[in-house]
Symmetry: C2
Subunit: 212 residues, 2 copies
């Protein structure tokens, strides 16, 4: 099994956490996004969407981090990354998707590059980044803080799919110096996650392709 | 069961299709996004993310269209919206997420409004819209056209989760006069879907809150 990723991709970061939690060994293949390696052969033949991560195995390629993680959870059930009960599964998926659909896509590299190409200086690109982080984390904080189903982690007392999405998003927010003081529940959950080696070992700065 | 949505929301459109395919009756509650009703009470108390759709039932509220649709699929298994085999499920989810994470979030109303607030005239906002449609649909066309698992629909010969995401995205593309000539596979699948009443009845222009 080969994980094609990039240290700073938060979607790849999610898959790294899931592999670590499951105890699955995967060879890491590094696709340098800032050099544009995702847009050229050989990677583009693996994923025509030109995005990491991609999980390659036995001649098959899986793309989209949440699809990959659900696949890993279905084929390696322990520890489970989703609860069993349908309403609880929907809650966890909604938290994960709030990050994966409503925060991260607005702030990934190709979007920031597009804004620069449209004439926005770095300060305005940074404002864009922080705006969508603030909007998304505010919603998550209210959703999590007001719900007794929230425990030590996003759902109860075991880390799962929602935490796997939250932690990389918080890391991105910190990298762009976003003010996180308004999200005590998110910070508490992030701290609980990063105390687990499966999360901490997946941090961007601990990857072999990490750069300053 | 109440579906809080808006005729033109493509995420609500997805849930409408899924409810129709499952034959589930839900009362529609209309949240007028252009008037900002999603940002105020009573809706914001249902979904702190201030986005439609939200599915309300028995005092619980589910958010995020894909989480809602997976819930409906788990609790109303017929007809299935995902295949059974894990690799096939991952393929279908990756197609759905390619729309839900990589096209739609860049083009929804709040993003277009933000671009206008940053000083971009309508023509540049339209360019932004068409750019992300083209990037995303190009990836989907290559992914689908090159794979023998693609059938009459995105995966085999039964409509499912990927089709549920594709059709609303194609409708959005048409609304913004995007050139769809380069995506023959997507157009063929869209046509096959719209021949099914569950899809056609969910079209924005057929909803009670539709406007010109």
């Amino acid at each position: 099994m080969k994980l094609h990723g990039y240290f700073r991709s938060s979607a790849a970061f999610r898959v790294r956490i899931a592999l670590n939690l499951k105890g699955i060994e995967a060879e890491q293949v590094f696709v340098h996004l800032r050099k544009g390696e995702q847009k050229a052969a050989p990677f583009v033949d693996l994923n025509p969407h030109k995005l990491v991560p991609a999980l390659e195995m036995d001649g098959r390629v899986l793309t989209q981090s949440l699809a990959i993680i659900e696949y890993l959870d279905e084929t390696h059930p322990e520890p489970p990354l989703l609860p069993r009960e349908p309403l609880a599964r929907a809650r966890v998926r909604s938290l994960a998707l709030a990050v994966a659909c409503d925060i991260h896509p607005l702030n990934n590299l190709r979007v920031l590059q597009r804004l620069k190409a449209m004439g926005h200086p770095q300060a305005e690109v940074d404002d864009w980044y922080r705006h969508w982080i603030a909007v998304g984390l505010e919603g998550l904080e209210v959703q999590l803080a007001g719900d007794p189903q929230t425990g030590r982690f996003c759902h109860g007392d075991a880390a799962g799919l929602a935490d796997i999405c939250l932690v990389p998003q918080m890391a991105n927010a910190r990298r762009f110096d976003c003010d996180l003081s308004g999200y005590p529940t998110l910070r508490r959950i992030e701290e609980a996650c990063l105390a687990i080696p499966a999360f901490a070992d997946a941090l961007p700065e601990r990857q072999p392709d990490a750069e300053a």
